[in-house]
Symmetry: C2
Subunit: 245 residues, 2 copies
């Protein structure tokens, strides 16, 4: 049977979500846990890869298994075997053809910025610290032009040979002292796209880029003019939506 | 001049707040940063020691220095040199005789329990996960007998040769889903006292100890009947109060 799972992970110290030779990955940890539980090698698929250091509390994966016990047992077993940095929240049986990446209709990410005067050790892992003055109105204004169907080449790279047109459904800043939060939802994202959005929008906040220039960067698709990608540690994949499941 | 500092630290991976030979400590990190900044060895004193793995976001320390620049500069320098797990929030010049331990009138600690159905990777460092049913009413009832001036020998060890009478000013549970929080303030604490309180009160919550038995444990000062100390990682020193400063 095919299983869909909603998982969470602390990406600190992991070389991203996708298996690679030279760093521990979320995928490798999950596949190891499943192999130990079921006795057979199981390959998992995810809704998309997350970069090294990026966190998730709503990543979706899927895999095939001949597990003979309940899904509650499977979840308990996985959570017992997985390291503390990874947890399985929900398991659900789905159609055999379900694919967490191709069937996903949108992904939502959150980026967190801590605005306290001093850096705080407790917030170190899941946010970046920006105590400087920021023009939130300018940032909000610039953010508006991101919404809709656009070619986002200025803000990230598509997979090899693919196009860079995506549809941003929602992009907004919320400030609840001392937290400044950027929430963005799109049908899909280019590599580093959210971190490039935030890096460039912080330049708008500090006055180095005007909202008009920000719009030009999007329109001219000029990566050179976009800000650098902001640190991975403030980023979290919050949810993936599906119509079918 | 004598400086009072309010500091925060993530105690994970530290062998406690106080210098010891075989583990990195908060005190050693602070003294190294001060030595590098000022060029002279500086010994710091703290309001009290915190055990290995215990966090703080309101620990108070003091030290003497001939620092010639502003306190804002000193704080900036310390925060630049200290590891990300330690931060200095406030610096203040105080009377030469000020001692953060002997002049303290009370200490406040918080213990955090995560009640979500599944463990969550993001909450791993600063709380423990207790999904089981708990009788909060019984726990609250038992907690009441802790308040006042008592001999708390059942719940901790005094420094060698000293007595174990302390005064608990406040002790209360707050539940705001999914967080169960224990706040306790006392003039001073025995070693492990908060963690022994919480460990034993969780036994009340699960019905293994009645509130009446809990009161007996306090009165008979019988450590054998008290619960084990709960994990350090959920504990945080929140503040230290002084009348003089």
């Amino acid at each position: 049977m095919r299983i869909k799972a909603v998982i969470a992970y602390d990406g600190t110290g992991y070389g991203g979500s996708q298996i690679q030779a030279n760093a521990p990955t979320i995928q490798a940890e999950l596949e190891q846990a499943l192999a130990r539980l079921t006795g057979v090698a199981i390959r998992i698929a995810a809704s998309g890869r997350t970069d090294a250091g990026v966190h998730a509390d709503g990543q979706v994966i899927a895999f095939d298994t001949e597990w003979a016990h309940t899904l509650v047992d499977l979840r308990r077993g996985m959570n017992a075997l997985l390291p503390k940095q990874i947890a399985v929240f929900e398991l659900q049986e789905v159609e055999p053809g379900f694919h967490p990446r191709y069937d996903a209709t949108s992904r939502s990410y959150r980026y967190r910025i801590y605005r306290g005067a001093m850096r705080h050790p407790f917030y170190e892992r899941y946010s970046i610290h920006v105590p400087q003055a920021l023009d939130l109105e300018a940032m909000t204004c610039a953010t508006r032009c991101l919404i809709g169907r656009h070619d986002y080449l200025a803000f990230g790279s598509p997979p090899q040979g693919r196009n860079s047109v995506r549809e941003v459904i929602r992009a907004e800043w919320t400030y609840r002292e001392p937290w400044l939060t950027f929430d963005v939802e799109a049908n899909a994202f280019l590599y580093r796209m959210v971190r490039m959005f935030v890096g460039t929008l912080l330049r708008v906040g500090t006055g180095r880029v005007t909202p008009e220039q920000f719009k030009e960067i999007l329109e001219t698709r000029d990566r050179q003019r976009a800000g650098p990608a902001i640190a991975a540690k403030g980023l979290c994949l919050r949810s993936v939506t599906y119509t079918k499941v």
